[in-house]
Each structure stands twice: as structure tokens, then as C-alpha cells.
Symmetry: D5
């Protein structure tokens, strides 16, 4: 463990978050997400909820403020305009912890899968609730900030 | 880069510091140190002084408080009781930044090399001053701390 | 996830538990344990308590009944006869879940480290309590059992 | 071996089944199936019938209930509407063991080969009967189930 | 599959048996045998009895006739002079199939483990009966044969 | 060496022949054939004639009886209807040894190269005669055969 | 360190610069640049400004004189004709140190990313100023020089 | 070193030349040639002239006599019909040493780069003269020779 | 194939012979020799007699003239002073082809195995005659020779 | 090639020389030296004399001034006090080019081999003269030098 760094950020996950650059994306995926076959980098956080992982990731990773959709979730198949409870929790975490809070945008299910495949990395969590997935785009730290 | 984490801590270095456990040691080595041939993990920080690297490492890594010698430097060959200026700077950094400041202990040159070979990792810095090497032992974070 | 199998048993951990044979040992280690440098197989379960992991492991792995000490913990340095709370919890889990419950035996700290290094695998958990480590020896399933 | 888990599920096969996500597919192939050259993951169960393997796989893997064709076999070349005896046995196993039993759907021979190549994994069994191949799509475990 | 070759001899197993030279040894191990951690080459035949595997191996591998003990089993811990039923079956298979039948010799349990570790390869079978392990030493094919 | 198996079938070649499935192809190539750069699996039998290798391969590998052209050679550039002596020898070997003898079909030179590149494996022999190449398609062993 | 060679040129960076040929390109990237996921060769110089790295690279690498644009920077998104201060510094370094000084040419942002992906290597520096990226094309050393 | 074989033919280069088949091509490149990034096989002969390397290669490798252009050089950009001195030397070496001497054909610069990328291997020499590159196509050794 | 080089010298074997230095040893082993498990480099020449291989090796490799025993064979177990026919053939080949012919020396069987394990490489031939093994020590080419 | 750096210093050799630290040793070996089997890092400079390589190495690598024997050659077997011509040339090169010229010390032949095996790297040159080997110990660059 390290001082001042959330202990669920494992060695590989810290390496990945630090290695990502401006515009690179990371997927926080639920326990049923089919990520292992196609992810470029893949880490597991078995037994941990997606919201808990989101808190840890946003505690160190800047969220992109250059685009309108730095946080993306999967649209519900049967209710395109609905907001699943887990997504509502994601929004609350972002509002509270992100350096640049943004409104989560939904993406059609298969478009979401395609975008996840292009991501820098996928974190498979233990989240059991359906639709418990979110894609985050990394931002920058301006020169005057540390 | 990551929020609140010193930007000279590279992806591999963050991974290593996070992966180390209680009692594992890391070497911050000067630019002439013969580390690449025998180190178990090896990272470079070319062009950066050893004191600057020490500050970054101690900003996240707890220093062991279970032993008397969590910070070790190389004894000067010609002046066993002397303290090179770079070591004096090391002590100042430790006093200011370490969670458990400790007095640096010198170790005979070849004993220092032997101990460095057993370390978890070696960081080769750009430090040009002779004797600009220090071995640190990682401590623990108690349950109530985060 | 799989039907009837504890979801914190990750793909790699299931593979390891299944590959172990009679007498092979696995270490459930706390968050400060220095395991990554020397373990033969190494898996992480960041953020999960050691007792929770012990439950999951014993739900599928038989405990050896051919020896007197199939479960070993680290003796407290300052109180060799004491039983830390986390070890008391380990004993309760074993009593409840193991196919062959056995009394936990303490082992002197450095002897414990040596034995851990010889284990088939080390699981690094998120256990924050000190002494939250236990070594388990795998048993056999008799022919008539399935 | 592990408690309560079918012993023909080998270490690698357990790892694969656990790593698959919602919608990933696995092929249980007969002894003549040309799978080794193109499979993404490949495991062998020499000497074991395909029906026996199907029982073991379905004892732990949920079958997808979101699609109409979670189980697919190869259409007979000379009798597109015929059902080979081994496929009838597959249907009986699915009816008895699957969490979400479904009617097996036949697929034209070369379309079957193409789909098998895209699967997460291929298990080559010792099945000697022709048409002894089946593709299964993994389902999800709902939050309230363990 | 190949003409005239037992179909449970998998690709890797055929490669290993062919690559072994005069005096090299192979272990046919039961389902509880702790072989995976230390074997130099390791193949699995899950779900297949050890006697069935012995038949297949001896159908192609010559047994050494230069030594007195080309076939070795593990001595029973509690009954050093006893012959477990599975070993009696091993002897019957050797008598019937080996090119140079020989009397099986028992070896003390830990000496057996040590010798197994030095073997060219270990085959882990699905044999559930205890003591279902045998070490075979490969012989030669004389010039006029083969 | 193994009992009853042609000794020029090396460990890797036996592994490959056993791993091939129904419809997979293998190339027996002459000493000038440009195979090493593009073959998926590649084995050498330096100093051995292609006809000798063909005998060994067909002694264990079934030839496909589901297609009209399970054996293909390269058409002579200057005499498309001619049959080089080495190809006549190939036909004699097939007639004598194959389980399902078939008439060799010629293929235009560059089409032959393209097909060879898609094969499961290439065996480079020591055959010095031009046009000493043949592609074989593996067949099946029916359930009742073994 | 080596005599007469800038000490921030690390072992890997020296190897890369020496291995590049005529027309190969290298990217000196700022600390936010998303390079690690797609670069063919990737080296880090954490904590070092891009201008400092440019000096070191040009002290040994010839700049191409066969093309008009051997040095390329990223056009500012909001001010296509503007020259960021860091680019002005790049130009000054080139004018002073390059063997064949050339005028820096700007390239549209996404075209710059595409070109960077095709480069021989990417050096990620610690440059914090935005637009602190430059692509250099390697030149030749004429026969009489060197 | 080996008897009767030019000592500048290194272990890897001998392996490559021997592994090449009929029609495979090898590039002898000058010291500025950008070959390392894209070559399929790559060997260096630093400090050796291209003509010296050509002598060594042709002393063992047959040149193709089935095509008109078994030796190709790069057309001069400013003088398409000109013959650089180094190419004249190449022609003299071929005339003297090749088993099947042929007239060198020039190829437009970028077509030459494209063809070099498809070659079996690239040898980077120490040749300092511009246009000191040549592509050779390997021939065959007829049955009666060799 | 290459001009003037014995075609049974395969790409890997040529690489090995060229890479060996003064005093390095190579083993030409018979078909029963147990070499694959322990050899540092290992090549096969299935189907080729050991004497044929010896001719090829000595056609390019100098034999050491600095020691008395540059060629060593295995002493017959039952007749320490006897000379097996294959060894007599080895001697004839050496007398005829070696640059520095030497008398073959016998070595006790297990000492021979130990020495073989330390060799630079082992060539497994198709030699069927017992005692068809020979160890050769590589010599030097003096400066004036080529 | 790079500006101001000897062009026979290849990419790998530059990387090695830069990576070596204070006290690490490098061997410049003649063409008969048996280095490939045991060297930790190994590079070839076929066709180049050892003296030419020595010049290139010393043009960038500091020679150790902390010990009496930073340059070691092999003692002649028959004339322990003699100095072979190639060693005399080595001394002249050192006197002219080294930053810290030192007198070459001879070492008994087998002690030389043992020391070479422990070196950081071996460079195999094309040197044909016997005793054309030298071991160099790397020195340091003091802070004020660059």
C-alpha cells in the first residue's frame, strides 16, 4: 500500500492509470461483462462494486474536459431513456470526486461494446447489478497544477 | 499524470512501489551505479537528482519503523566517519517527508553492493555526485490509516 | 461468474486451486505481506478481507487431514502465546466451512516467511489487520466422494 | 480436485469458463474437429465423450437466456432436417442440467466452422461420433443469485 | 487422431514419449498427485483411469530392460509390504502389453516424490484410487526392430 | 523412438499430425521450397527424400475421403499435362499406403504456393528433384475404427 | 554514462537513435501525450522538459535535409497560425544544434496523432506545457563525415 | 569460424541464408538504410562495405536464374539512367562470383523500399556510399549439384 | 541449400557450428540417446546415420589440436577395451575428413553422459546402432587460413 | 549512424556500454573465443579487428581509475612473460585513447575465461590473431565532466 493512494488501486491498475494519456479511455465493467477476450490491458477487482472502483479511479485520474462525453454508460435495451440505479450512483460519484464533473451520456449497447474494445484498459469488477459499466476518458493536468 | 501524485513517479515505478511489501527494499542509485546487470526490477530516471527522486518516493512509500536502519547509504572508502553532502541532503529529505523519519546508517561499500543486489528494485537516477545512493525499507500502513 | 462457485474466486485463482495437489500449500496474505517478489504463483484480491477469502477458498479446497498442521498462522512477535483477533476469526471460518476442520498452529515469524516462499501460490488480500495471514495445505478427495 | 466441482473440469478449463463473460461462446468439439489451428483458447479432454463434457460445463456455466439460440450444433450435410443421436443426447443433457434450458438450433456446416473460430475457446473431446459438436453461449447470474 | 495409435495419446503426450531417450522416466500420476508445481513437462488426461493411460503409454513406449526396476510405484505408508489393487492392475497391464515386462518395485513415499520430480514428464490422470501412480523408464529399440 | 511408429516421425512432427483435424492440410516440400518464412508450423527432415516422408506420414495420417483432391502437387510450368517422376512415385506410395487412396491433382504453381501458405504445417525434406512437393488433406477415423 | 554523450540519452534511447535509418521519425512528446498504447518503441524521460530532450537528441541525430518538413509540431486548435512558446523554443534549439537546421512545420492535431503512431519511436518527456510535442525525421551522414 | 566459409558470415546470417528457399529475397543495405523497423529478419555487419558482404553472400547463395531480375538496386533520384560507382562494383562482384551472373536492374526508390520490406531478411552493412543497397533473389541447386 | 555446404547441415545446425568457439563441444548422438531434456542447444537429424552426420560436421568444423582427446565415444559397458563397429567407422571418417585427425578416446558411460550435458549442443541422429555417439571439440582456424 | 559516434558501435553495443556501471566489465574477444554459450550479453562485430573495436569502445567508455588492472589480457600459455603483438597494439590504443590510460595486466588462461564469464558483456570481433582478447573495466565520469 501507499500513502494517500486508495488501497484498491493495485500495482497493475496504478501503472495503467499513470500510463494513459490525454483522450485514452478506461472501462469499469460489471461482473458479467465479456471483456477478457478482447481487452488491450485487463485487470480484475473481484468482489468490489463498480461504484467503489469509480471512486478510486477518479481520486487520481483527471476526467477529460475537452469533450462533452468523458463518461459513458450503456443504454438500457428496453428503456432507452431510463437511468438504472447504478448509473445514478455513478453520476453522484462523478459529481463529488471528479476534477471536472460531467454529465454521463448513454450509448447504445453494441456501440458501447465496440467502444470498450478500443479502450486502453478494462477493469472487471465484482459489480452484480446489470448496466454497471462506465467508460471514462482521461484528461490532462495543466502546467500550473501538480 | 495523476492527481496528487508526483509526476516523476513513472508507470513502472508506481507499480513497483505499490507491489512492495513490508520489509522489501528499494535502491535509489546514482548515475554510475552498476545496477542494471543484477537488479530484480530496474527503472531509470535519467537526468533527475537522487534527492529529487527520494522526495517523490517518500511522498507515497511508508518507511519501516520496525527496524533501526530503514535508510542505508554507502560508507565513504577513505573517510568511514564522514558524511558526503548528498547524504546530508538525503537526511534532510527524510526528516521532512518520511512518515517515520529515521537516522541514515552507513554500510561498508561491498556490503552495500550485496544488499542492493537483494533489493526488490533499483532506480537509476541521473545523480552525478559520488555516494549518491540510498537503500530504503518499506514500512506498513496501520489499519486505521489509509 | 459460475453457478455455485463463490464469485471472488477469479479465473486465475480457480485454476491454481484446481491445479494444486495433495500437500501443496497456499498462502492467504494481508495487504502488507511481501509476497510478490518471491511467490511462485501470485494473485491479488485487493479490497477483500482475509477471512472473506478464507471462506471462498475453503468452500472448494479440501484441507489436508494427513498432517497435524494443515493451517498455519504467524506467531505474534511480542506475545508468542497470544491469538490475534483475525486469527480467531480464521479458526471460526475453518471450523464452519472446512471439510476437515483443524486447529490452527502458530509458526515463528521468519519460519513463516520461509514456508510461504515455498508455497504453490500466494493470494494477496486487502486485509488491513496485522497477522492476517494463513497458510493452508490442500487435502485429497477420496474416491467415493465427488 | 475441488469440492463440489466436476473433476473433469481441468485447471485451464475452469479458468476459461470463469473468465468468459455474457455472450462469449465455447465449443465442445469432437475428436476430428479441426480446432487447434485457429482457436483463441484451446483445451483438450482426450478420451471423454462430448456429452460427458457438456454435463460438466453446464454444471457450472449459465446458459444465455437473452437469445433464442444459446446452443448450436452442425447441420447434417446429407439430411439438413435430421437429428444425429449425439445431438439428441446433447438436448437431453441441456434439458436436465442447464439453468436456462433451450432448444438446440442447427447451423450449416461451414457457418458452424466460422462461428467456432470466433469463440472464446474450443474444448477438443474424445467424442468419436460424427456431428458431436456443440457451441454454447454463456449467460449471466442475476444479482440475487450466487 | 492417427491410424493405429491409441486416441488418448494427445499431441503433447506423443511428442513427449517420442522425445524421451534411453533411461528417461515418465510418471503416470493419480488425480491428487502434486505434480504441476515441479514437473519439467506436464500433461493432463482428466477423467481417465491410470490403468487406461498405462495401456496407452506401453502400447508405444519400450520399457527399459537394462535395469531391474523400470516400473516403480509408491509404497503404502501403513503397509509397506501390501499391494494396493490399482498396483495389481498396473502389473497385469505391464505383463500383457510391455515389450519387456518387469516386476513393479515399490519405493518409499518421499523417495517416490523426489524421483518423480526428476522425471522427463508427469501425466496427471483422473485416477481416484490412492496409490494410483507409477514411474516408467524408457527402453531402447534395437537396430533390427522398429 | 516408439514401437510401431516410423522413426523419421520426429517429436514435433508426431505432435502436428496428431493435432491436425478433419480438413487440415500438411505440405511435404522439397529442399528448395520457400516455406520457412510463411509456414504456420514448420519442421525439417533434412537429408530425407519426399517419397520416404510421404510413406511415414501416410502410415499414421488418414487421407480425406470427403473431397476429390486430398493430394495436390504442383503443375509443371512448361508442361502442364506432364507428370514428373517424383509425382509418379508419390502416386504409387499413396496407392499402396493411404487408407483412402486418391488420384493426385495438379495445381498451377502460384496457386500451389498460396494454398501451401494456408496449410497447418510444412515439412521441409531433403528432396532434390524439382516438383517434389505434395499437399495432403487429413481425413477422419470413423467411430468403429481405432 | 559515456564520454561526450549527453547523459540523459538512456541505454534504450541511444539504441533507438542509432538503429533508426534515413527517413525514420521519432516523437518527443509532452507529459499528457497518449503514446504508450500505440507506439512501436516507447521510452520515458520523466521529469525532463521537451526542449532539454530535443537538445540531447539533436546532439547526436542528423536531421533530414532531403525533405522540407523534417521537424513537425501540432497546430494549435484554436489558433492555427499561432506559435506556442514551447514551439518557439524548439525552433531556437534546432537553429542552434541541428546539423541541418530547418523551419518547423505545423500539422493539424489529428493528422499529427496519426503520423506519431507511424513513428519509429516515441519519447515521453515530463514537459507540462501544452503543444510540447515535436516529430523529427532522421537524416544521413555523408561518406566523408562521421 | 568454419572451414571454407567466409568468416564474415555470422551464425545468424548463415542460418538465414540456409533457411531461404527458391525465390526468397535478401537485402544488402547501406549504413543509412531504414531497415530495422520493418525487416522480417534483420542482421548487422557494422563496419563492413556492402561489396565485401555481397562477395560473402554470393560465395554460398545461388542466384536465381528463373527470372530476369535476380539482382536489383535503387534508381538514382536525380539521374534515373546513371549507375553509381558502388553499383558498378556490385555488378563486377556478381559477374565474378555468382553461380548465375545476371545484369543488375534498377528500381524506382520507393518501389525499392516496398520490395525490401517484403524480403526474407535485411543485412545492414557499414557501407557509407549512397545507393549502396542491393536485393538478391535466391536460386536453386539442381539435383546433380551440391 | 547453399553452394559447397553439405545439405544435411540445417539452418539451426549451421548457426550452432558457426557460433561455437575454441574448446566448445558438440555431441552427435544416436536415436536412443536421452539428450532433449538437458541439452543447451538441441537439433534433430531424424533418419540420418551418425557417420553421415559426422562427415557433414567435420567438413566445416575444425577439430581441436590443442588437446589429446578432441573426439570421445562411450566405452562399452561389457567390453571396456572393445571398439564397436560404428566407432571404427567414426575413426575412419575422422582420419579422412578432419583437418586435424586424432585418435578417438573412450569414456566411461556415465562420465560420457555428464560431459554431453555440458556440451554446447546435441545433434540427435537416426543412428540405430548402439554406441553410435561421439563428442567433438571445436578447434581454431589460424590467421593465415581461411 | 549518429553524429560524433564511431559507426561500428551498433545499436545493441551502444545500449550495453551506456547501461554498464562503475566496475562492470566488457570483453573484446577474438574470432575463436568461446563466448556465445555463457555470455550475459553478447554482440558480434564480424570482420572487424579487435584493435579497431578497442578504439571505438574507449572513444566513449571511461576506463576505471580506482583499480590497478582495468585492462586485462590472456597470458600466453607457452611464454607467460611474453607480450603478443596484438596485446602491444592494445596497449598503444589505450595509451592514446583512454581517459585514464593504464598498463595492461596479463591473467592466466583459465582465470581469464572465468573472469570473462562474469563480465557484463562479450563482443565477438573478427580478430584472427591468437590472444586477441582484452577485458576492460568501466570507470566513472566525475560530476564536473560531461
Amino acid at each position: 500500500m501507499l500513502r494517500g493512494i486508495d488501497p484498491i488501486l493495485s500495482p497493475e491498475l496504478l501503472r495503467i492509470l499513470r500510463a494513459m494519456g490525454h483522450g485514452d479511455e478506461i472501462v469499469i465493467a460489471d461482473a458479467n461483462f465479456p471483456g477478457e477476450a478482447s481487452a488491450r490491458e485487463f485487470v480484475r477487482l473481484d468482489g468490489i462494486d463498480a461504484t467503489r472502483v469509480l471512486k478510486a479511479v477518479l481520486s487520481v485520474m483527471p476526467l477529460d474536459s475537452f469533450v462533452d462525453d468523458p463518461a459513458i454508460t450503456m443504454q438500457m435495451v428496453d428503456d432507452p431513456d431510463g437511468i438504472p440505479p447504478v448509473v445514478a450512483e455513478f453520476q453522484a460519484v462523478i459529481n463529488k470526486i471528479a476534477d471536472n464533473p460531467a454529465e454521463i451520456r448513454p450509448l447504445e449497447r453494441f456501440a458501447f461494446y465496440d467502444r470498450a474494445r478500443e479502450a486502453f484498459a478494462v477493469i472487471q469488477t465484482g459489480e452484480r447489478r446489470f448496466y454497471g459499466n462506465v467508460i471514462l476518458k482521461k484528461g490532462v493536468l495543466p502546467p500550473e497544477q501538480g
